[in-house]
Symmetry: D2
């Protein structure tokens, strides 16, 4: 059963912070990727297996609004949800929080491609997601 | 003299590519950061020195449109230009190309903060930028 | 009270694995660094605070023996222990395991330096470590 | 023709330096990997192609001696040379320099494995290396 949303917790690691002691702004896209992979897994799919089957997802667009800095060792929660899905693309939105405080929000559009990088239809078994 | 734009070349390194052999989508924000730092330097400023002086820039917003994959060892050019500057914020736009081909375009908003993370005015010596 | 050893758990993240799906060999030094920082913290010290006080540790030597690959999402335990401490240097040894299986073992020598990078004595409050 | 040594230049990038402004000690293993890949390429081989052919190299041992810090933007030269090659393993040694100054030296042992991670013989076309 394909879910539309999933929440994970992520602890900020020392090598991820910058000279100010803040989580580096480039790391947020990695966190979002972790959110997508875990949403997929919560739905019973394995990203590494998909890649071995020749199904890849490439990021076509990404956008982040940074609201409040996150620091080393803080425990954050990341909510990932699917906001739109077409035959070949999936839009996700993300909310990264420390407790109730919004650390960042963002969105991405990913496209399904084959090993040659050509757009292909998202395999039947990955859609249509349903609300949890 | 503060410039409004600057172009650098960046070679894609092996540890930066993903399982498909493409430059990982999270790396683009690091490349953009390199573009900002080099624009600053071409204007006669040193980012590390600014940080030692208690002047920091934090990213408030970032956005990337990925147009064409970049691969290991490719030589890319990144054009960074300032599109807007207020007393406390600077907007940059970016074009990453392989020859004539657009690999990605993006934009960021950065804010000037002190060591405590409080918004402060951009030091006089960093503005107003002029066209090159 | 300064401890001579400490154990943490680390979960392998997706961006840390290579094209084979294995934890990239360069990441192990980051894990060891996490182990050192947590050993310090378990002893009541804060690495970021030390840096603000002008006390830095630089790595002089590092060595890793890779025994068994670690994969995405695996839960590993890292035991960090101090094997030798002089007035200016600390030697650590590391064992990274998945359950009972040894994933890697390694060692480092770190030296205490000031902000200018000159070797200095390890502050009194950081030594002498005692067994837990 | 397989070469026993090769030298490349590497410029230290901003995201690679730590809070002291020094190249992070974990990055050196990435630089060494770049050195191996370029030595392979100078010999007419393509690492990505080898992986597609099911030939992988995993690192069994690594060791680094850090001699002098490297800073942002410095141009370094890395000399990579093969010190020993058996049917299934290759030992490399590395010297990283800034001009004449030795920044670090190190060594690695890599083993040839198939897609399942089982040790296999290094393909005939990759050995025996000859001095350049």
């Amino acid at each position: 059963m394909n879910l539309t949303e999933h929440t994970i917790t992520i602890q900020v690691r020392y090598p991820e912070v910058d000279a100010m002691g803040y989580l580096h702004h480039g790391r947020f896209l990695q966190y979002f990727e972790m959110g997508r992979i875990e949403l997929l897994r919560a739905s019973g799919h394995n990203y590494a297996q998909l890649e071995q089957d020749g199904v890849f997802f490439v990021v076509a667009k990404a956008q982040v609004n940074y609201k409040s800095p996150a620091r080393y060792d803080e425990q954050l929660t990341l909510r990932t949800h699917i906001t739109r899905q077409t035959a070949v693309r999936i839009d996700h939105a993300y909310e990264l929080r420390r407790g109730e405080v919004l650390v960042a929000e963002g969105s991405t559009t990913i496209a399904c491609v084959n090993r040659q990088g050509q757009v292909m239809e998202i395999p039947q078994r990955l859609g249509k997601p349903v609300s949890p």
